[in-house]
Amino acid sequence: MNLPGLAVRNIYRNPVRLALTVAGVAVALLTFVTLRTAVMSWDEAKNYTLKDRLVTRHKVTFVMDLPKNYADDVRDLKGADGKPLIRASTFLNWFGGKDPAHENDFFATIAADHTTFLTVYDEIKIPDDQLKAFNETRNGAVVGDLLAAKFNWKVGDNVTLESPIFGARENGEPWAFKIVGLYSTTSKAVDRLTFYFRWDYMNDGVRAEAKDRVGWIASRSVDAARAAEVTAAIDKRFDDADTQTLAQDEATFFQGFMGMVSSVLAIMSYLSYIILAILGLILANAISMSVRERTNEYASMKAIGFRAKTLASLILTESTLIALAGAIPGVILSYLIVDVALGDFLEYNLANFFPVFRVKFWTYAEAVAAATVIGLFAGIVPALTVARLNVVENLRRVA
């Protein structure tokens, strides 16, 4: 028997309270891990972006498009030395399509130049025969395998979409597509929930003033290390034109996008601190109650000759151990619920918002460390109380 051993035995003394405290700590840490992961997943998603992939868009607003010849200009851009700066380039349009059969389900619909699209987004994998069909079918579409599974779409299906942005086709017919392929991806930089179709089919159908306009241009620079130089060169190319551009590498573009969600992320951050405060309250409650019940034991230990410091460290050991006892199931619970269950669900169904939703090792470490430190702090007041305990009065109370 030793003092840590005594601390451990004291923990098991009140099984109901121990179970409640452990459950409380575990749930609090689960909540903490969920919130932290939601915040971090945005940061994490940035790691999948490519530094050599550049996005060129209208300088002022995403609702405005660019003349199609800009795409050619970007593709042919040369450096001061006369060597090409871009090794691949494509152009895309946001179609804003909605499937009347799935009115309330949002999914991205993008018109992409089928001849160049896969050279820029080489993470997208389409079987050869389906790619051939895509090249041969003007109204062909390739759909993310996860989206297809969600809507039960198969190769060969015909799908009609509506677009509030472009209205009906110029000839009055509906936007009718034929699904000719399903794609998967080799990286999380591209989601598997998008409906891609041929840009030329879109261009056929839009009204005269919207023809030959592209939403944005996506390119691959010759060298990831020269991203800043190349994007500057693109913007300079159009600086004197009526429509100016903003070219950014994918990582910077993503970073900028964070501005749209920053307040939500900030709120989640605050909440993750509040749950730690609640965790502290649970632990403080449990430990102060235990110590209070054992006042006379501590008094008699003091009478025997135990020093205030020894008793205080006994209590701090106990409170820290309780916190750890809750942290372990908390981490296991977080792994099962957040990493496995929630992670799969979100990555498959909400990849547009959470392309990656996995708990980082550091988040677990943060959770355990937070619980340990809070456990230690929760024990401070009871430990001080016992250290200052008046032996005479508390022994009297017992007798």
């Binding site: 607003t61 307040s263 109650m289």
Partner: protein, 387 residues
């Protein structure tokens, strides 16, 4: 019934743990109340000032102004329909164009979208609450703009005298700051409709047409006329209906998030209450036995301990509500998915938010106190005789 003083004193005896429990409940209640106040704030700010007799005419499939487009030719047609209020023999109403501009945030990384509205003098007639608080109204036909008070200073360029660029060598100069009774317009940049159309190459039409009806009740007849003409492909909404739809997504999101988070948070508070009550019961086995021996029923004991738990959580709830109330002037800037643009709004205290969060704290007390109370009620009168 057991005299309530008995349970109140018991709380006092265990005041440290009781205070801790009260604080836990206060935190949870404050979080829930704040979330509901956020949701109410979105609703309030988006829908404030909606007038029953103002109709919004937009493209049939569009859910917001940004998506919508109305051809120039259709604008005149719409405004010539019967049922609109007239002034000097002309209908009150006109086209407005809505675009978003991406601006760098001040005090946060990245950019976000800000609504820019091209307006005419007709637009001002349809917004009686809108008034200039600083600077001057933009002169028609110039590159002048005014900015809503909510968004002022939150983005780069959005301060009086500063400018934002929309086109090469054609910056919009901010010459005025306006308020509109706290409405969503306070999160917008307003410039002359002609200027905005030119800057964004939208000469062919506007986003929506706003018009004042001769009477609020006339909307059905007006709608029937507009919507029956399939070639126009337009729909008519009353302003309050339209605005309600604009806030629905975000306020629903905030409400649901608030409940989910609070539910998880409340588990901690409930466990805290259970720990406290459990100890209270365990310590008073003999007392409870005595009460039973004196003739108090199991039910009386159960209720007594439930009341004890409720007193704690309701106190915590009250403190939490006060804390949330203290947040009520706080302004939050958030992207509204319905408009794709930043909306600045204040946390709005609402009866519904307070009643809901208050009931939540009662629920925490009932859940946290129930098991210990049941345990107390099962204590035998014989316990009085044992030491």
């Amino acid at each position: 019934m057991i005299p309530y003083q008995y349970n109140l004193r018991s709380i006092w005896v265990r005041r440290v743990t009781a205070i801790i429990t009260v604080l836990g409940v206060a935190l949870v209640t404050a979080v829930l109340a704040a979330a509901l106040m956020l949701a109410a704030g979105v609703k309030k700010s988006v829908s404030v000032g909606g007038q029953d007799d103002v109709a919004i005419i937009m493209r049939a499939g569009a859910t917001g102004e940004l998506e919508s487009g109305v051809d120039e030719s259709a604008v005149g047609l719409v405004l010539s329909q019967p049922g609109l209020a007239q002034e000097n023999g002309k209908p009150i109403g006109g086209g407005e164009i809505v675009v978003v501009v991406a601006l760098d945030k001040l005090g946060a990384i990245g950019f976000s979208n800000v609504n820019m509205r091209g307006y005419s003098d007709q637009s001002l007639k349809l917004r009686p609450n809108l008034k200039l608080v600083e600077g001057a109204l933009p002169k028609p036909g110039t590159d002048e703009a005014m900015v809503g008070r909510g968004i002022l200073g939150r983005f780069k360029g959005l301060t009086l005298g500063d400018q934002i660029s929309v086109r090469k060598n054609r910056p919009l100069r901010i010459v005025g700051v306006f308020e509109d009774g706290g409405s969503g317009a306070e999160s917008e940049i307003w410039a002359d409709v002609v200027t905005v159309r030119a800057a964004f190459g939208r000469q062919s039409g506007v986003s929506v047409v706003r018009a004042r009806l001769a009477s609020a009740g006339g909307i059905e007849a007006f709608r029937a006329v507009i919507e029956s003409d399939k070639r126009l492909g337009l729909k008519v909404k009353s302003e309050p209906d339209f605005l309600a739809a604009q806030s629905e997504g975000l306020s629903k999101f905030l409400t649901i998030m608030g409940f989910i988070v609070s539910l998880f948070f409340s588990l901690g508070a409930i466990i805290g209450a259970t720990i406290t009550m459990h100890a209270a019961v365990a310590h008073r086995t003999r007392e409870i036995g005595t009460l039973r021996a004196l003739g108090f029923s199991r039910y009386a004991i159960l209720m007594g301990f439930l009341m004890e738990a409720l007193v704690m959580t309701v106190t915590g709830g009250a403190i939490g509500l006060l804390a949330a109330l203290a947040l009520s002037s706080t302004k939050i800037s958030m992207m509204n998915p319905a408009t794709w643009s930043e909306l600045v709004f204040a946390l709005a205290p609402s009866t519904q938010a307070f009643v809901t969060a208050g009931l939540f704290s009662v629920g925490m007390g009932l859940l946290g106190g129930f098991l210990p109370a049941v345990r107390a009620s099962r204590i035998s009168p014989l316990a009085a005789l044992r030491s």
